[in-house]
Symmetry: C2
C-alpha cells in the first residue's frame, strides 16, 4: 500500500488520474491532493471519501511514496525534484523531463524495461505520442520501423477544461448566429480546424509535432527513425485520432499487421469496413486501449502500411498511462 | 456568348456554379436550369432574373453550347452523352467519366492543354484532388514529384445540403443533451470524425481515397507517381484541408517551395506562424484560390516537404474549377 499524491489534482488530467486509480484499485494507503493556491480547499471524492485539496508547496510534498504530476511544465520543473528529494517516486505527465537522458520515458506496453534503475523520476509521454507508439511498436518488433508519417486530429480536451467550454460556447454561438469572444484558442475552433498546437520552432514545426518526433525515437530506442508529423486541433471533445503511414524494413501484409496488432498489449483492432467498423473518437471515450483500424497497404511501396489510430487522450493518452507506470513500478518492486 | 445549361442546378454545387458564372461575368446568352422532377418549377435567380427549373429529360438537353453537370454519377452517365450528342460541350463534375482515357480531366492551372481536341466531354476532378494538384503541380514542375502522402480533413458540405443540416442539428442536440436521429451519415458527425468517405474496395481503401490516387496521376500525367491517401470527414461546414507530405526527385528547400508556390497560378501562400498565419477552413470559405501554409521540411529525408493545403470545396473544389474549364475552352476557341 502506497502513500500517493497528485499535483494538479483539480485539472482535467488530475481528476482522471484520481478516477483511474480508483477504478483499477491501485493500492493506496493515503491520498494527498495538491493544486494551485486558487484551488486550495476544493474537495474531490476518492473511494467515497472527500479529500480537501492543498496548495502545491515544498512542505506539502513530504511523506509520499508516489506522486503524479499533472500540472504543466513549470510546476513539474519546480516541484518534481523536491518530491523526489523528499523520498517519493514521481511520475510526471509534463514535458519538463521527457527528453532528459537520465529520465525514463515510458509507455508500459512498449518499454516497461526502461523503468529499471530509475532515479526517482519517470516521465509519461505526450498524449499523441503514447497512442502512436502503442500502435507502431508491435510492427517495429515484428519487422523494423524505418519511416513514420503521422497527421493528427487532436481533440479539444487536450487543451484543458477551459478549451472544452470554449468549444461548446463557440459552437452554440455559431449555431445561433451570435458572436463569441475567444479566451483559449487563437482562432475559432467551432466548425474549424487549427493546424497549430503549441509554439513554433525556427523550422516551422510546432512543439507538439516535435514531441511526436523526439519522444517516439526515445521510447522505441530508435534514434535514427525517420519520422515527421503534422498536428491539427479538431472540434472534437475527447479522443485523439492519427492517420499513420509507416515504412517497415521487411514487408508486412495488412492481414499480418492485423494479426500482430490483435495480439499486441493495449491495442484493440477495430477494422471491419463491411460493418462500418473503424475507430471513432466518440466511441473510444472512456476506454483505456488504443484502437487501430483502416489497416491497409501503403500504396507508395510494398513495405508500407496505412493505419488509423484513435485513443482517449485523457485516459491512455494521460491518466491511464501514468497509472500503468505506477502499476509497473509496484509489480517490479521499484517503488 | 453561349447558351448555357446546369444539370443539378438546385444542389449545393449547382447553385454555386450559377453564382460563380455571374460573379465572373461568363458570357451567357441564355441560361437553362435542370434538376430532378422534384425540383421542377423551383425558381433561381441569375443576374437579377428569375429562372424556372426544368426536369432533366432528353428533350430538355437540346439547343445548348455548354452544359455543366453537377447532379451525381448516375445522372451524368445517363444524360451527359445525350447533351454531347445534341451538340453541347459538357463539363461534368461527377465521377462518371473522370478515368475514361478519352475524356480530359482538367484543372486549368495544372493541365489546361489536356482540353485540346476534346470530344465534347470534359471531366472536373473530385474536390480533394483539385486542391492537392494545384498545390503540388508547381513543385512537380520544378523538381519532379516522386511520392505523395495525404491525409484529408473534409468538410460536411462535400456530402451535400442535407449533410450540412445534419451537422447543425446534431451539434445542437449534442449541446442540449438531446438524442438526434441521423439520416445522412452512418456515424455521428457532430464533435466526431468519420474516417470513411464513400464505399470501400477490397483493399480497404475508400472510393474517395482512390479518386485522390488515380485522378492525381492522370492530371499530372504521372502514371507511376507513388501516392496514398486517408480521407476523413470532419465537423467543419465548408473547406477541405489536407496534410500533405511529398518526396521530390531533387531537393527543394522550404524557402524555395514558398517562392515557387507564391508564383503559382491559383495558389495563395499563407505561411507566417509568427503572426499565427496558416490556412484555416473558416478563412477560405468563399475564396477561389488554394491556400498553402505550414511549408516545412519533410524531416524523413532531405528531398521531402510537408504542406498544409486548404480550399473551399464548393468553389475551387467544384463550381469554380468547372467555370474555369469553361473559360479556358472559350479562350482557346474550343467551344
Amino acid at each position: 500500500m502506497y502513500k500517493v499524491g497528485i499535483v494538479g489534482a483539480t485539472g482535467v488530467v488530475g481528476r482522471t488520474i484520481l478516477r483511474v486509480l480508483e477504478e483499477r484499485s491501485f493500492p493506496v494507503a493515503e491520498m494527498k491532493l495538491l493544486a494551485s493556491g486558487r484551488s486550495e480547499g476544493t474537495k474531490l471524492s476518492f473511494r467515497g471519501e472527500e479529500i480537501t485539496v492543498l496548495e502545491t508547496r515544498r512542505d506539502n510534498l513530504r511523506g509520499m511514496d508516489l506522486v503524479f504530476f499533472a500540472a504543466g511544465t513549470d510546476i513539474s520543473s519546480e516541484f518534481a525534484p523536491v518530491a523526489v528529494e523528499k523520498g517519493a517516486v514521481v511520475i510526471d505527465k509534463s514535458n519538463a523531463f521527457r527528453m532528459d537522458p537520465e529520465v525514463p520515458l515510458v509507455v508500459p506496453e512498449v518499454n516497461e524495461e526502461a523503468l529499471a534503475g530509475h532515479e526517482g523520476l519517470i516521465a509519461s509521454p505526450n498524449c499523441s505520442t503514447i497512442q502512436l507508439v502503442v500502435a507502431v511498436a508491435p510492427l517495429h518488433r515484428a519487422a523494423g520501423l524505418r519511416t513514420v508519417i503521422v497527421s493528427t486530429y487532436q481533440s479539444v480536451s487536450g487543451a484543458g477544461a477551459e478549451a472544452l467550454s470554449e468549444l461548446d460556447e463557440e459552437s452554440r454561438a455559431s449555431l445561433e448566429g451570435r458572436k463569441h469572444h475567444r479566451k483559449v484558442f487563437t482562432h475559432p475552433i467551432a466548425f474549424n480546424l487549427i493546424p497549430a498546437i503549441d509554439s513554433f520552432d525556427d523550422l516551422g514545426f510546432t512543439a507538439e509535432e516535435m514531441k511526436l518526433v523526439r519522444e517516439t525515437r526515445k521510447i522505441l530506442s530508435h534514434p535514427t527513425l525517420a519520422i515527421t508529423a503534422t498536428a491539427v486541433r479538431v472540434p472534437v471533445r475527447v479522443g485523439h485520432s492519427e492517420a499513420v503511414t509507416v515504412e517497415l524494413e521487411t514487408r508486412v501484409t495488412p492481414e499480418q499487421a492485423r494479426r500482430i496488432l490483435a495480439q499486441a498489449p493495449g491495442v484493440v483492432v477495430a477494422d471491419d469496413p463491411s460493418r462500418d467498423l473503424y475507430p471513432l473518437p466518440v466511441a473510444v471515450e472512456g476506454k483505456d486501449e488504443v484502437y487501430v483500424g483502416r489497416i491497409r497497404e501503403g500504396l507508395v511501396g510494398e513495405r508500407w502500411l496505412n493505419l488509423w489510430v484513435v485513443a482517449d487522450n485523457l485516459r491512455k493518452g494521460a491518466a491511464t498511462n501514468a497509472v500503468q507506470i505506477a502499476e509497473a513500478l509496484a509489480r517490479r518492486g521499484e517503488i
